[in-house]
């Protein structure tokens, strides 16, 4: 077992142990924080596929986080109001079943990522960053000005969505659902990076000409990665809506894009468990430093600067050393 694997397993166990301990000590707030870490980590795992493995610096992943959230929020609020979502050409009812909400969120985010990616990937470098940002901001302003689902005030969902056989309102149960999904997307990430597609994606990042000269279009490979990336971040958005039982346009804002990016960079770009390490550190800082000073983000900025300057592998790089061969 490599050192990185050991670090990864330790991180996963820590994320599992903290809320279980909190359950026994009766600190539901800590369980909620842990759930938040798991959800943010999922969002980061999504971005890491585009940013880390594909080298696609998306500054617009809030679009997918928000779309996933609104997919959950709108479906649930329609179901709770007993109003069908669509009446023509056929009737579609809202729902509060997670097992329906998740695939819907995945499909919507996948479709959005296909459109955004297809247009953004025609550019590169700084322009790619700006175009992805612009798309997310477009959706942000749309959400603010669309009164049907709360506009600027956001949309409250009065119950948490249901999962067959589980009481999702119980904090530790909801944490378990999020944790299981985190492990699932991490597992998918492992498979993806070692697969044929992962090899092609990695080559597209390192040297697109290499891919072209063996007869593969880098565009197709990168677009596929962008879609997968958007879908996973969208799933995190749907869970986040359920965690807060509230969605608001803030989910679409560039702050959110920046935060997801910070999770990935803090933890280690292109490192499997980087997003989890980054999200955990972010939440820890927010609550430890946030308790001391309201300028905690200044300290976060300093930390980010130090990591970018001196520890390119992020937290995982510090704990597990550089990446091995391949």
């Amino acid at each position: 077992m490599t050192r990185e694997t050991t670090v990864n397993i330790a991180l996963a166990i820590a994320l599992l142990a903290v809320p279980i301990g909190a359950q026994f000590a009766d600190h539901p707030f800590i369980i909620t924080l842990s759930t938040k870490v798991a959800i943010f980590a999922i969002a980061g795992v999504g971005l890491n596929i585009a940013l880390g493995y594909g080298g696609l610096i998306s500054f617009g992943h809030a679009a997918f986080f928000g779309l996933g959230g609104y997919a959950a929020g709108i479906l649930a609020s329609q179901a709770l109001n007993y109003e069908p979502l669509v009446t023509w050409p056929f009737e579609i009812q809202g729902t509060t079943q997670m097992l329906i909400i998740w695939p819907v969120a995945l499909c919507i985010c996948g479709a959005a990522a296909l459109v955004i990616g297809a247009m953004s990937l025609r550019t590169g470098g700084v322009y790619f960053i700006m175009i992805t940002l612009a798309f997310a901001q477009m959706i942000y302003y749309f959400a603010i000005s669309w009164p049907a689902y709360g506009g600027e005030d956001g949309l409250s969902i009065y119950v948490r969505s249901k999962f067959p056989g589980l009481n999702t309102l119980d904090p530790i149960t909801f944490f378990a659902i999020c944790f299981a999904l985190l492990i699932a997307v991490l597992g998918f990430s492992v498979l993806l990076t070692h697969s044929r597609f992962g090899l092609a994606l990695s080559a597209a990042r390192q040297n697109p000409q290499r891919l072209t000269s063996v007869g593969v279009r880098p565009f197709q490979v990168q677009l596929t990665a962008f879609v997968i990336s958007g879908m996973i971040t969208g799933l995190a958005g749907a869970l986040y809506a359920d965690l807060n039982r509230f969605v608001s346009p803030a989910m679409f804002s560039w702050h959110t894009s920046g935060e997801i990016m910070i999770f990935v960079i803090l933890g280690g770009v292109g490192r499997l468990f980087g997003p989890l390490a980054g999200a955990a550190l972010f939440i820890l800082l927010e609550h430890l430093l946030g308790g001391i000073t309201e300028f905690w983000q200044f300290l976060l900025g300093m930390l980010l600067l130090l990591i970018v300057l001196f520890a390119r592998g992020g937290l995982i790089g510090l704990l597990a050393g550089g990446r091995g061969n391949v």
Partner: protein, 250 residues
């Protein structure tokens, strides 16, 4: 002429005032090594780039197996069987030598859009990649990160990748560049046999290698082909001597 695999006809490419390719006509026949020589800046690499589709030509046609490929992009041309090596190695530096070859093998043997099975566990794929590494003598360095390979080894790796593509034509842009005398000699022997697999368009400055290998030679000067012929014809051509070979053969 119809027996040629690759036919370049009247190809022109202009960069501003510079004619990089000036009505270039050239063909490549089965089983031959056709060397393209010329002084620096004559437009040799530019010609290769137009043939593989990295640059688009302004006028003229390129035929491959009798079919016009002018409107195809670089990926489509590579898929049809045009394999090229680069003047300056163009590899994926962070992955192993083996993975670089696997990338080519998987592109040839079906799709890259498979998301679950680890590529390294695909025995057929790995065996094919190892075969090609062995052919260039790089089998012991298979798991080394490409960035850690020596210059010569990277050139060998480029060749292994080209082999893995099972091409119908090899376009080799200065494969000897930066190789020591031993390396050049080995590569010369290797290329001499390679022509039986697929014909080779060879851009090269190493005249010993060119004269040893070439069935035909074309001389490119300022974007124009000034002569095409056998090794002896080119050696004895006054025009070529004055334009290019000059003192080197005097």
């Amino acid at each position: 002429m119809s027996s040629a695999i690759l036919e370049v006809e009247d190809l022109s490419k202009r960069f501003g005032a510079l004619m990089a390719s000036d009505h270039v006509t050239l063909d490549l026949r089965p089983g031959e090594i056709h060397a393209l020589i010329g002084p620096n800046g004559a437009g040799k690499s530019t010609l290769i780039k137009q043939i593989v589709g990295e640059l688009h030509h302004d006028a003229g046609t390129i035929r491959f197996n009798g079919r016009r490929i002018d409107d195809l992009d670089a990926e489509a041309r590579a898929k049809m069987g045009l394999a090229r090596t680069f003047q300056v190695s163009s590899l994926a530096p962070e992955i192993s030598a083996l993975h670089n070859v696997l990338l080519a093998v998987q592109a040839v043997e079906g799709s890259v859009f498979r998301f679950f099975k680890p590529v390294i566990r695909d025995k057929k794929l790995v065996a094919a990649a190892m075969d090609n590494l062995m052919r260039v003598g790089l089998q012991d360095r298979a798991m080394v990160r490409t960035a850690d390979l020596s210059h010569g080894e990277r050139r060998q790796l480029e060749m292994a990748i080209a082999l893995a593509l099972k091409p119908k034509v090899f376009l080799l842009d200065e494969p000897m560049a930066g190789m020591g005398p031993d390396g050049s000699q080995q590569l010369t022997k290797f290329l001499a046999r390679l022509r039986d697999e697929a014909p080779i368009l060879l851009v090269e400055h190493d005249m010993d290698a060119v004269f040893a290998l070439a069935d035909r030679i074309s001389v490119l000067v300022y974007g124009q082909i000034i002569a095409t012929g056998s090794v002896d014809e080119i050696r004895n051509s006054k025009k070529v001597r004055s334009a290019y070979l000059g003192e080197e053969l005097a």
